[in-house]
């Protein structure tokens, strides 16, 4: 079943983006070199960037349709977004950060769900700290927890490991694999690193210079590996 359908065009200065792909459940990787437009694509899915043309649909619901003038604002899309730099709120504790999405989307407090996500990401000991005092890896785990606790219909992960050194990358990857295997939420994972994509993705969409150049299973990565040994 198709979970996410994207067909968008956007002019960003001299750069022309025209991306079309469909994703089923599991973890879809948007894979390609830096500057190929991957982040712009997820921003459009989240509603933070408006395409010039095209449509975006999630679980059969239209989020954006230029022709019909539909553009659901980001706060009503229920799409979790884990940013490259975490973007935790510095004035709130980790607990308040994690709980923010649930509060803002008006969902009742669910202690069980909270405990499950805290355990899944091992962020229990961090809950009463301030984001400023967390390591990069801890910050990203909290950011993932924050996005999950709002019970998103889709989870966008935009290079969540890019700001971490290699040691901390390995600290996060198992959590993402666990998340995928629990099948709680379909994921779109943006990365330019083949090794990461190989561990997490179930489906790969290769994006180069603003266009989809290939889409398919993990076998797509072999060819890319030859060029990108990491």
């Amino acid at each position: 079943m198709i979970v996410l359908a994207v067909d968008v065009e956007k002019k960003l200065g001299a750069f022309k983006l025209a991306v079309r792909f469909e994703a089923t459940g599991g973890a879809t990787a948007l894979f390609g070199p830096s500057g190929s437009g991957k982040t712009s694509v997820v921003s459009m899915i989240a509603g933070l960037l408006t395409p010039d043309r095209g449509f975006i649909a999630l679980n059969g619901t239209t989020l954006f349709d230029a022709a019909k003038g539909i553009n659901v604002p980001p706060h009503r899309r229920h799409i979790g977004y884990v940013f490259q730099e975490g973007r935790l709120f510095p004035h709130l504790s980790v607990r308040q950060n994690v709980d923010y999405g649930r509060r803002m989307s008006g969902q009742p407090r669910d202690a069980e769900d909270f405990a499950r996500i805290v355990k899944l990401l091992d962020i229990g000991p961090l809950l009463d700290r301030r984001p400023r005092l967390l390591s990069g890896g801890e910050r990203q785990r909290v950011a993932i927890g924050r996005a999950l606790l709002m019970r998103p219909r889709l989870l966008l992960l935009d290079e969540p490991l890019a700001s971490l050194d290699s040691g901390h990358k390995h600290e996060i990857l198992p959590y993402l694999v666990r998340l995928r295997d629990e099948g709680m939420v379909p994921m779109v994972y943006v990365s330019h690193t083949a090794s990461e994509v190989r561990r997490i993705a179930t489906y790969v969409v290769r994006i180069e210079a603003g266009h989809v150049t290939a889409a398919g299973g993990l076998e797509l990565l072999r060819e890319a590996d030859a060029h990108r040994p990491d």
Binding site: G47, H75, R77, P90, H91, G101, S105, R130, R132, A147
Partner: protein, 231 residues
């Protein structure tokens, strides 16, 4: 301690009341205008920016006079407010608060605007993806992050209001018990031969109040800033 006379206490109480009311009423406008200037581009923005700072560069007497002809009983705005809402500014302490608010306003808007400009807008985007609409983003993210600037702006306005003299005396005169603030009381005492000794006590009070306001604001700002550093 200083054995202040009832008249002196009245002047102190009036000064504080006028400054607090002026700051409290100016604050929502200050935040709104600071936000407008920090976030929006519109026709006439430069002009608005210029007008905002007028009270800072105009002689206070001119500001007071302009208030008198617009907010006085016969002024267009003053007459309207009197007729429809029964609000009178001329020769009342409320008029002094208006004059102080106007004089303090530019000093209030500047730090608020700077604080809003310094906020990482990407945090607001993150809040939006978490389900917060524009109102809640503003209340839960923008305002708290701008809080140190808002406190600084409020204190600047309060301090300016406490020291205001020229615009106030021009607009609402110098009436003991109604519009005679500490500054006006000191001025009055200095007009009388031998009044320096009496004025000295109020001068001391003015210094103590100003210091207290500064220390208090420093404490608030540090507390607000600390929340971002951790602990």
């Amino acid at each position: 301690m200083l054995n202040l006379t009832p008249d002196e206490w009245t002047a102190i109480e009036l000064s504080l009341r006028i400054s607090i009311v002026a700051t409290a009423f100016a604050l929502p406008f200050g935040i709104a205008l600071g936000w407008l200037l920090a976030r929006k581009d519109f026709w006439g923005k430069t002009l608005l920016d210029g007008i905002l700072y007028l009270p800072l560069v105009l002689p206070p007497v001119v500001t007071g006079y302009l208030l008198l002809i617009s907010f006085g009983r016969r002024g267009p705005i003053g007459a309207f407010l009197d007729e429809h809402f029964g609000i009178v500014f001329s020769f009342r302490w409320t008029g002094a608060a208006l004059a102080c608010g106007v004089m303090g306003f530019p000093l209030m808007v500047r730090p608020i605007r700077q604080a809003l400009e310094a906020i990482d807008r990407r945090l607001e985007d993150a809040a939006a993806t978490l389900g917060a609409d524009r109102f809640w983003v503003f209340v839960t993210i923008t305002l708290p992050l701008a809080l140190p600037g808002i406190i600084a702006g409020a204190v600047m306005c309060f301090a300016r209001a406490l020291g205001e003299f020229g615009a106030t005396i021009t607009f609402v005169s110098n009436i003991p018990g109604e519009t005679q603030t500490i500054s006006a009381a000191i001025y009055t005492l200095l007009q009388v031969p031998g009044g320096e000794v009496l004025a000295g006590r109020l001068v001391l009070v003015a210094i103590v109040l100003a210091l207290a306001a500064l220390i208090l604001s420093e404490w608030f700002a540090r507390r607000a800033g600390m929340r971002f550093q951790g602990e």
